[in-house]
């Protein structure tokens, strides 16, 4: 027979004002199985918790019901207290009489009636609770990091420095990400390459980091501590072991007019190429869509050219190289796939995104985006650091920067702030003024969001010391007249329309997640928001975890992030991963499904509805070892405890611990007339 203790909390006045707490405690005394029912001012206080502990000891309670606030608030507190008194913590439940009752009703009588109902419901549940034990799962202590930008690099280095092996997978031919394209970084104006390159080399040389560049994650199976990852190592057409990175091949390649991705189309590259001089690994890659030999092959013609192969002294060029699939066992995964920039064209990759008709949908040649400006300003860029406009190579004397292009605009499909633009536009005006002494930079802004250490000072400096002209307002229209860009805007501080001429316009376009993020997220079973940014498990308290245990997120694939943010997140994921790897076994909450083997008919409806692949097939054998039945088995390491299997199971042969049919039946019974 159950011996339940009921503890009704006044929460100061929070519950007591609208609920007769003493009355609730008295009413619960009459419920069969309740042997102890009291009320107290603050149950969560030390004396309150002590009351629970004492009652468990003195009355020999088999279950504890705390009628107080939401279980999201204090369930852990009271379960800990229960465990402290020697009772299994899962025999303690909370009745939410604050958020769901006293705070939303004013009629004391009605609120009290409801509070009694709520408490009785939980009493009936707790009567049917059973002791549960924490689950222990083995952990493979190696990590996978997806994405070789600054976030991925930082995460990989921190985990490897912490003593664990790391597999770093990068989609492109080199690690470095967008940070390697930047000229100088705010708010210190230190050279991006100078601070990044050593980290890239460190990754390459680290004994515990295995770098798979020019590779993509093909599939992911398994669960926290026990993932099996298949990586597609795309064919570079270059033998990595033979190549010494001399670069002779790239010099002889006849196809030299390919817009360089690294230079955002402002520079050119060859068909066999190293994306930039500091690339890691320093290996050339054949772009099979642009290489003459492969273009001929695609048309069924014989192989031609082969100049690169002829130039290679090491015989490293391999035109017949194939993609290879490698599998790796890891215990944790860090997603750090970064961002791309929104483009203002008429055709957009998603239905909810819209382009900028008022700016001619991106057809004006001297209107560029922020990353293109970075390449112009970069000493290693296509103009060797000179600010020259793409159309005629002239130095622009009047340059206009437009902030919030796409960002903060629900009409364009991106209502969020891209966070980094205010700062990099301020930086761009400074770089411009440093390079074009007789030039004038003008910025159209909505607000200046310079929250961050040294950020406000930096943007003030751009305006006050370096002479950038800041206009609060939007540009409503932009067109080309001759070689001038006409700008029509509105100054909201002056309250006047502005018409001005510019030689070049730089758009601070919104940050968007990388293309293909949804496919990757689906492989990983992590959720993402309507923009494609990976969802964190909790926006405040679990910012680098995802909803799938063992998978973490860092950098701009979660939301717009600047470099310090991305690095901080990466280090945070590393600390989470290292924490997970601290023990050989992992402990988990026991709210998982469990199969009643005697009743399971083996229809596997549960398997079909399980989003995590937690249901496995289990053979039941007779004494002779013959398989007599095949039934379901729920892997407790994979199960996340949603209970969809149980609602689907026709014979109710799978039960979710903590939310069993009996417990819920009890709750429904308690509400009966």
């Amino acid at each position: 027979m159950a011996r339940i203790g009921v503890f009704v909390c006044h929460c100061g006045e929070n519950i007591g004002r609208t609920v007769d707490c003493h009355g609730v405690a008295e009413a619960c005394k009459d419920v069969p199985g309740v042997v102890h029912s009291v009320d107290y001012k603050y149950m969560c206080s030390d004396p309150g918790q002590q009351m629970v502990k004492n009652a468990i000891a003195e009355k020999g309670l088999t279950g504890v019901v705390v009628a107080a606030c939401s279980p999201h608030m204090h369930e852990k507190t009271f379960r800990r207290a229960t465990a402290g008194a020697g009772l299994n913590p899962f025999l303690c439940e909370m009745a939410n009489v604050r958020e769901h009752c006293s705070w939303i009703h004013e009629d004391r009588e009605k609120a009290t009636v409801k509070a009694v109902d709520i408490t009785k419901t939980i009493i009936e549940k707790v009567k049917r609770n059973v002791p549960l034990n924490t689950i222990r799962i083995p952990v493979t202590r190696r990590a996978l990091v997806i994405g070789g930008g600054i976030a991925g690099i930082q995460a990989a280095l921190d985990i490897a420095d912490g003593g664990r092996e790391v597999i770093l997978v990068e989609k492109g031919p080199s690690i470095g990400g967008h940070m390697s394209q930047l000229s100088e970084t705010f708010p210190t104006l230190d050279c991006s390459q100078c601070i990044l390159t050593p980290r890239m080399v460190e990754v390459y040389q680290h004994p515990r980091i295995k770098l798979y560049a020019y590779s993509e994650v093909e599939s992911v199976e398994g669960y926290i501590g026990n993932f099996k990852v298949t990586v597609r190592r795309k064919a570079r057409s270059v033998d990595e072991d033979k190549c010494n990175g001399c670069g002779a091949c790239t010099q002889v390649c006849p196809n030299k007019k390919i817009p360089s991705e690294f230079d955002c189309g402002l520079g050119k590259r060859t068909a066999i190429y190293v994306p930039f001089p500091q690339a890691v690994p320093n290996l050339p890659t054949v772009d099979r869509n642009k290489c003459l030999l492969f273009m001929n092959r695609a048309k069924g013609r014989p192989d031609t050219c082969k100049k690169c192969a002829d130039a290679c002294a090491k015989g490293a060029i391999d035109f017949d190289q194939q993609d290879r699939l490698v599998t790796e066992d890891v215990g944790a995964i860090v997603v750090a796939t970064g961002y791309q920039l929104y483009t203002i064209g008429k055709d957009q990759p998603k239905d909810n995104l819209k382009g900028y008709g008022e700016y001619g949908y991106g057809t004006i040649p001297d209107v560029i985006d922020g990353l293109q400006f970075e390449r112009l300003a970069s000493a290693s860029g296509p103009t060797s650091g000179k600010i020259l406009r793409p159309s005629d190579g002239k130095e622009p004397k009047r340059i206009v920067f437009l902030q919030c292009i796409g960002s903060r605009d629900p009409q364009k499909g991106m209502e969020y702030c891209s966070k980094i633009c205010c700062m990099y536009v301020a930086k761009h005006t400074m770089l411009y003024h440093h390079k074009v002494h007789d030039g004038q930079a003008t910025v159209f802004y909505m607000d200046i969001r310079a929250a961050g250490k040294g950020y406000e000072e930096f943007s003030r400096r751009a305006i006050e010391e370096e002479g950038a002209q800041y206009i609060r307002g939007r540009v409503s229209r932009m067109w080309r007249e001759g070689d001038v860009i006409k700008i029509l805007g509105f100054d909201t501080l002056e309250g006047e329309p502005i018409e001005m001429d510019a030689d070049m316009v730089v758009l601070a376009t919104a940050m968007r997640p990388q293309p293909g993020i949804d496919a990757l997220a689906q492989k990983l079973s992590v959720s993402y928001d309507q923009h494609g940014f990976i969802n964190e498990a909790h926006p405040k308290l679990r910012p680098v975890e995802t909803n799938t245990a063992g998978i973490f997120v860092a950098g701009a694939c979660q939301a717009p992030r600047d470099i310090p943010d991305a690095v901080a997140m990466a280090s945070a994921t590393a600390s989470k991963v290292l924490g997970l790897f601290a023990n050989e076994m992992l402990e988990r909450e026991p709210t998982v499904a469990c199969v009643n083997e005697a009743n399971c008919a083996g229809c596997f409806h549960c398997e079909r509805v399980c989003a995590y692949g937690a249901v496995e097939h289990k053979d039941i054998k007779d004494r002779a070892g013959n398989v007599v039945r095949v039934i379901a088995y729920v892997n407790p390491g994979v199960c996340q405890g949603c209970g969809t299997c149980q609602a689907t199971c026709p014979s109710k042969s799978v039960e979710l611990q903590g939310f069993t049919d009996e417990q819920i039946w009890g709750e429904i019974q308690a509400l009966g007339v």
Partner: protein
């Protein structure tokens, strides 16, 4: 096809040629215009500038009458009328409280079922018909299609029949009529609107900038679908010259006139002679339409001269 028709004051006064040319072309497009009975002011400028409720109730009255006539949709050729009627429909559907107040004012059971269509929306739906009937294609005629402020905006009110920032319906219609739309920049700029009398200087500055851009783009004529734009761009050319803001003569045509010309309709029927800036140059450039038939326009230009 039958469609409700709300002429508004301009089409019966200032821009009679708009109504004349509209009626001339719809006959050829198998469309019948059913005029809204006892229509009244749409509420443009003065009403919605002075009282929000009046600004909604006036157009609502006309829509209510159309509803009682059993018209599912109403064409308002004037851009301002279109904006008022469509805005009223939008606001009433979004705001039940306002709907109640409007019904009280109207003393009618108005259900707000009538769709409001602009001239662009209606002609866009008839492009195939226009193409088929373009017996007199305006091959050489380069036109600058001018949208102004109200025809395609705001998108919530128009329902998005065209891109509000980079529209193309007027160009498409002109192309169907055989004219050559030029690429230019000030298609959606403000012409000065209703300030023609009170702040003539502003209108001259704004409208001249539009005409100059059209001229620079090589246009033979500017095409409009709004009486107010027409008046500012056509009638005010003399004042522009007077103030040194503009030189030359740029014919300003109604879209319906362009379509009518392509159908080979007599220029007089299309009201080509009612403009202040002579349309002779346009008529002369269109193949098959003798420049002689444009004689009537000279007198109008002369009248314009007197007025200016």
């Amino acid at each position: 096809m039958k469609i409700g028709y709300f002429p508004g004051c301009s089409l019966h006064g200032l821009s009679r040629e708009y109504e004349e040319s509209l009626k001339a072309i719809v006959a050829g497009l198998d469309t019948e215009l059913v005029e809204v009975d006892d229509w009244s002011c749409c509420g443009a400028s003065s009403a919605h500038g002075s009282s929000h409720l009046l600004g909604v109730a006036l157009p609502a009255r006309n829509l209510a009458i159309a509803e009682e006539q059993g018209l599912p949709e109403v064409l308002a050729p004037c851009a301002a009328c279109y904006a008022r009627l469509a805005s009223a429909r939008h606001e009433i559907s979004e705001d039940p409280q306002l709907a109640g107040r409007v019904n009280n004012v109207l003393v009618r059971d108005f259900k707000n079922t009538v769709r409001v269509r602009s001239i662009l929306e209606v002609l866009k739906g008839q492009i195939a018909g226009i193409k088929a009937r373009a017996t007199n294609p305006l091959k050489d005629l380069k036109v600058a299609c001018y949208y102004g402020c109200l025809l395609v905006r705001p998108v919530q009110v128009t329902g998005g029949y065209d891109d509000p920032e980079d529209p193309s319906s007027m160009e498409d219609i002109c192309k169907a009529a055989g004219a050559v739309p030029v690429k230019w920049n000030r298609r959606l700029d403000c012409c000065g609107g209703g300030l023609s009398m009170s702040r003539t200087g502003s209108v001259v500055r704004l409208s001249a900038a539009i005409l100059k851009d059209a001229k620079a783009a090589g246009a033979d004529a500017v095409v409009v679908a709004c009486p107010m734009c027409h008046s500012n761009l056509d009638f005010r050319q003399k004042a522009m010259k007077h103030r040194g803001a503009w030189e030359g003569d740029m014919p300003v045509l109604f879209l319906t006139q362009v379509v009518g010309m392509s159908m080979g309709i007599d220029p007089k029927t299309l009201g080509m002679g009612r403009h202040f800036v002579s349309t002779d140059s346009v008529l002369a450039r269109t193949a098959g339409t003798g420049s002689g038939s444009g004689t009537g326009t000279n007198s109008a230009a002369a009248v314009a001269g007197e007025v200016g």
